[in-house]
Symmetry: none
Subunit: 198 residues, 4 copies
DNA sequence: GATGAATGAGATTTCATTCAT
DNA sequence: AATGAATGAAATCTCATTCAT
């Protein structure tokens, strides 16, 4: 099997992508291992050749994609630009992921971010908070951001707004065509930076 | 009436409260009917006298509590006060519920909001968004709120911020003593109303 | 279901007996839970109502039957008779079990006594050794038994001889009609008591 | 040649020894082909170059080692010595094998002797009984052994005693240092030859 | 109302075996 | 000879739901 259409990765990555698609469509609990195998076009025992359990599949999807995501966010947060500009870059990057990898976002938003074991993954999720919080604190240090608000709570609020917009898209309750995405990016920045009050 | 909790008294309500506790702790899928029965101190066959299925249990928790919640929010949103003041009342009411019924909030946030059948409940969930959105539109009409942002997206953002703070409390990652709750209320209002930019 | 033919015990005991029969016929590994359920005439899942796992089924058969067995042996060993007579009673009781509960003996001999986890059960098995050893030591004290042999090793040898005869019956390699059983009892006693040398 | 062990040298023999070690530790059913391969330090596909199946592995261990063992016993039984002396040589040879190849003994005792297909191997196993029995019958002919006991049953008893002592060593319940082994040999001969009665 | 025994569909997981390289 | 990816039958176990008492 040397199908060149699967440019990136081998069977393992193929399975991870198939799993993300299936979990996205049916939910983690609604998906059977055989669905994943079928989606990947392999026998279902093969899933267990690469992953110890169904749970490890979800865990791996989370770890690897979230790790990449956090790396991107950190590089954006470290660029030599004004804090507010960097904050905009970070939030935009998070929102854009939806368009690039909707299945992945769907899984992260619906299955991982709200699972009962979220506790265990809090640390990894927290890395994204930390990025946002650090940018906000930079802004307070540079005078771009008000000093009378708690940076940690503000980061929490920003992250929640982001996740809810993504959720709206995931659930099909907010329009997600290119224009709508651009508008969402703008509105989020407007509200976060300038508030809603006139 | 500012208490959207499940009404007290009677086996049925006892079971609903027990189910909320169990679902909150283990998640809907991780919870067994026998766990619910055990938590309520009854035989598990009895659950089926009061509810047709496990799903109906969740459905009932959602309907009865969310309906009350929306009623409370609507009454607050309809009071003859400035729009921003009403918005603050609404968000505060949502946050305060956490303190009164943490298990309930946990279930609503984690289990109901992400279930595959969310489509069916979108209307009911949307009622809360609608309340927030209407208040924001009122504010735009009265000039209290900027007209250059989309009220619907703004409502979405506000709701997301709220839910994230609740999640932070649920996960024990944000302090939830009285002072911290008050501060969260203030910060949320500050950010939403005035933005973070100086 | 109030079938009076199953005079002893309820469903649980019915299942244990069925499991012993199935394990005896197919071996522990060759037996499926569904075989046990079918043999007992109940639905599959019911087995798990009474026992946590297939292993617990085997474990329970062992515990309960071995416990009864040891109690019998101990009562025989404690009777106010000469040591050699008591030793004969004990060995005879063990051999007679084959005729009374062949399936049980088959399971104990083939599945339990040689399982890799035998270590864990050594203590319980050891109770039978202890009975035999104590009788031999009593005999040494009273002068009935030679003092120049190690009681522990002698007990081990007696027990091994017993188990091998049972194994011969289990595997159908030794005749087990009433006469043959009586002869085996006699020969065992002869050899153990008097040796084979003339 | 008094070494019934699996012949040294070559991948095939390496695999047989590895299999014996793994079967001894985990039991036949608890052992995976991959465990055997890992123990031998080869890829597990290779096992299938040398053996058709897992079962053939066990079968081969049995045939090759048991065949050698029986040959050794037969040569001892055929030596021109008194019957009781030859019996002592035979039992001692069996016990000594334990010290040389404990894993092998463990497998023969626990896995082969109790497998459901034992019927097929009964003949081969029986060869050892036959050796013992023949020596006893020789003894009866020569007057060394009492004629009033059944030689076949006596052979079973002797074999059972042997196996139980081996089991005690396998399970670590009997001491197996050189002195203890020598004492076991002596005690076994004492009991079998002279009985325990004074 | 209340109990918990009984059912059985359905899912995960294991692992001997095959086979392409 | 050697590797290990790939297969899939088969087994265990779970648990929502039903039902007799």
């Amino acid at each position: 099997m040397t199908d060149p259409s699967l440019a990136v990765g081998g069977r393992r990555e193929e399975l991870l992508r198939a799993a993300a698609r299936v979990f996205a469509e049916k939910g983690y609990h609604g998906a059977r291992i055989s669905d994943v195998a079928e989606e990947a076009g392999v026998a279902y025992g093969l899933v267990y050749h690469y992953f110890r359990s169904k749970d490890e599949l979800l865990e791996t999807i989370f770890h690897e994609s979230w790790g990449r995501m956090v790396a991107v966010l950190e590089s954006l947060a470290d660029s030599p630009k004004p804090a507010l500009e960097r904050l905009r870059l970070v939030t935009t990057a998070l929102l854009r992921t939806w368009q690039q990898e909707p299945d992945l976002v769907r899984v992260l938003v619906r299955e991982v971010a709200r699972s009962p074991q979220l506790q265990d993954r809090a640390g990894e999720f927290g890395a994204a908070f930390t990025v946002i919080r650090r940018v906000i604190e930079d802004g307070q240090a540079s005078g771009e951001v008000r000093s009378d608000i708690d940076a940690r709570l503000a980061a929490w609020i920003v992250y929640g707004a982001l996740e809810e917009i993504l959720t709206g898209w995931v659930l099909g309750q907010l329009p997600d065509d290119d224009d709508a995405v651009a508008q969402a990016e703008r509105t989020l920045a407007d509200v976060v930076f300038g508030g809603i009050a006139r």
